[in-house]
């Protein structure tokens, strides 16, 4: 649980968001709010839309209707004359994405660079941070995730847990105000999951706004302020982890939790 008081200001607000892939409705009228400083876990069966929803927040995927605002602003859209959303070309808004850090299931570290280069790269070329300062930021971020000392290694020389921690450092080096995690531990061997969850919990306690798509109910229970259950493109239940896990109201939530054991 976050020990830093949450503000009532909303970091991310999703209102009536819908999205279709061809004829399939992947997100169906989703409305969610994520307060600043909060840690939210999104759980649900595969195909529930939880991976899609997180990618819509930083506009890796476009939405078809509704609005998503981050600190009150649209990302990658502008308002048309009738108040409708008009999509902007990627090169106009890509730099704003730097404020949102994302950590992926498959780590996605740049194979052709060392650990240090991976973490320094974006601050230098996106945020135009001078090399020396970028290096300091990178080393600090790596230290924070417990990966200092491996900066000359290549990703292929690291274990999954180490790679994921470097990926978290890479996102943190950009000094984001929001961190998105897409099933960060799903690809890890069980004994490596703990080291990544520890880093995430530490981040949560430091007051970062975090949204995690995960299957790790233990982490949800212990480290998160809010829990959202999605299925079939809809939000079926939301509340504190205690509320949702101990006394789920929705039938499908109960089924899902029972299946996870």
């Amino acid at each position: 649980m976050s020990s830093v008081p949450m503000s009532s200001k909303m970091m991310v607000e999703m209102r009536h968001v819908s999205k279709r892939f061809g004829s399939v409705t992947v997100l169906n009228d989703i409305s969610l709010s994520f307060p600043e400083g909060s840690t939210t876990a999104i759980i649900g069966p595969s195909g529930s839309g939880k991976t899609t929803v997180i990618r819509c927040i930083n506009h890796l995927l476009p939405i078809d209707s509704g609005t998503i605002t981050i600190s009150g602003e649209l990302l990658g859209y502008r308002r048309g004359k009738e108040g409708e959303l008009i999509e902007l070309p990627e090169r106009q808004f890509c730099r704003q994405r730097a404020d949102i850090g994302m950590v992926f299931q498959h780590f996605n570290l740049f194979h052709n660079m060392t650990v240090l280069a991976n973490v320094m790269e974006a601050p230098m070329i996106v945020q135009r941070v001078p090399r020396k300062e970028a290096r300091e930021r990178a080393l600090a971020a790596l230290k924070r995730v417990g990966m200092d000392g491996r900066d000359e290694s290549y990703p292929s020389q690291l274990s999954g847990g180490q790679q994921q921690r470097v990926a978290i450092a890479r996102a943190l080096a950009m000094k984001p105000k929001l961190m998105l995690f897409d099933e960060p531990t799903s690809m890890l061997d069980p004994e490596l999951v703990g080291e990544v969850l520890r880093v995430m919990r530490d981040l949560a306690e430091s007051g970062m706004t975090i949204i995690v798509v995960t299957h790790e109910l233990g982490f949800a229970r212990e480290a998160c302020d809010h829990l959202v259950f999605m299925d079939g493109g809809r939000v079926l239940e939301k509340g504190t982890p205690h509320e949702v896990l101990k006394s789920p109201k929705n039938e499908r939530t109960k089924e899902f939790l029972k299946r996870l054991g």
């Binding site: 990627e90 194979h111 974006a122 847990g161 703990g194």
Partner: protein, 295 residues
């Protein structure tokens, strides 16, 4: 944060047995007499082998007995000055044409994958055209470029487009069309996850291409490019018909003077064989070092 130490390396069998030597009796496998596997060959395999030996024997006999091979003449010209200059020119022509082909081919690959339909179409058109016309025809065309455009700006075309330039254009442009496909394959082989990471960090498409995608793609395409380089080396022999003084041309000049056709052809053939063999060793290194993805 206590996690299990990452094992640095697994003990080899020798180390493991050294540790236990003398401590335990030997296993049944170590006690049994060694078994030698007898190799047997079937009828087809044996018959084929006999035929190969017979043919090679006949070939060898012919080269030693038949005076028309002209081995003394071969020996006379193999290290002669015009031939050596020819070899050098072949290597230079290969290098420059390859450089043009790779640079242009990479540009074409990027155009082909652009969201702009005109760039896409332009690249596809280029590939279709330069892959559809034989290299020989293209070379002769460039050699006669002055017939189309007698002057390029203030300069007479024939001084700008020399036989060497014509050869570089013909070989380079033609090879670029093939390189485009190789590079495009390399770019596509870079995982989609890399692109997601690039976008989520706020990099533009151009930054991502330059810093992440192309470097990774190049590792993948190095082995096929090595093969293309060896092929290009052999294609340079076509430049002999447009009077570029590379190896084939040098050899043909000599035999048209002294009528020693076979020995001089053998000189050229032998040099091509030497150079392609040397390049093949380099190619094998490329395949081992860069083959099949990451480190």
């Amino acid at each position: 944060m206590q996690t299990a130490p990452f094992p640095e390396r697994v003990a080899t069998a020798a180390e493991r047995s050294a540790r236990t030597e003398g401590a335990e009796p030997k296993s049944p496998m170590e006690q049994a007499p060694s078994v030698r596997l007898a190799k047997t060959y079937g009828f087809g395999s044996t018959a084929g082998a006999v035929i190969v030996v017979a043919l090679m024997g006949a070939l060898l006999a012919s080269t030693l007995i038949n005076p028309a091979f002209g081995w003394p003449v071969f020996a006379e010209y193999f290290f002669s000055e015009p031939i050596l200059w020819g070899v050098l020119m072949t290597l230079v022509l290969t290098a420059i044409s390859m450089f043009v082909a790779v640079a242009l081919g990479t540009l074409l690959a990027i155009m082909r994958m652009s969201s702009n339909p005109i760039l896409q179409a332009g690249s596809a058109l280029f590939s279709w055209f330069f892959r559809g016309i034989p290299v020989l025809v293209q070379l002769i065309f460039w050699y006669n470029f002055a017939l189309l455009f007698p002057n390029i700006g203030p300069f007479p075309t024939n001084t700008v487009v020399t036989p060497l330039i014509a050869a570089i254009l013909g070989l380079g442009l033609s090879m670029a069309a093939y390189m485009a496909e190789v590079v495009r394959g390399g770019i596509l082989s870079v995982g989609a996850g890399q692109i997601e990471a690039i976008r989520s960090l706020g990099m533009t498409r151009a930054q991502g291409l330059r810093r992440v995608i192309l470097p990774q793609a190049m590792r993948v395409v190095l082995p096929p490019m090595g093969n293309e380089l060896i092929a290009l080396l052999k294609w340079t022999s076509l430049a002999s018909v447009i009077a570029v003084s590379e190896l084939m041309h040098a050899s043909s000049l000599i035999y048209s003077r002294n009528f020693q056709v076979i020995p001089l052809l053998l000189v050229a053939a032998a040099w091509y064989l030497v150079v392609t063999t040397v390049f093949s060793f380099g190619q094998r290194y490329l395949e081992q070092h860069f083959g099949k993805g990451a480190h």
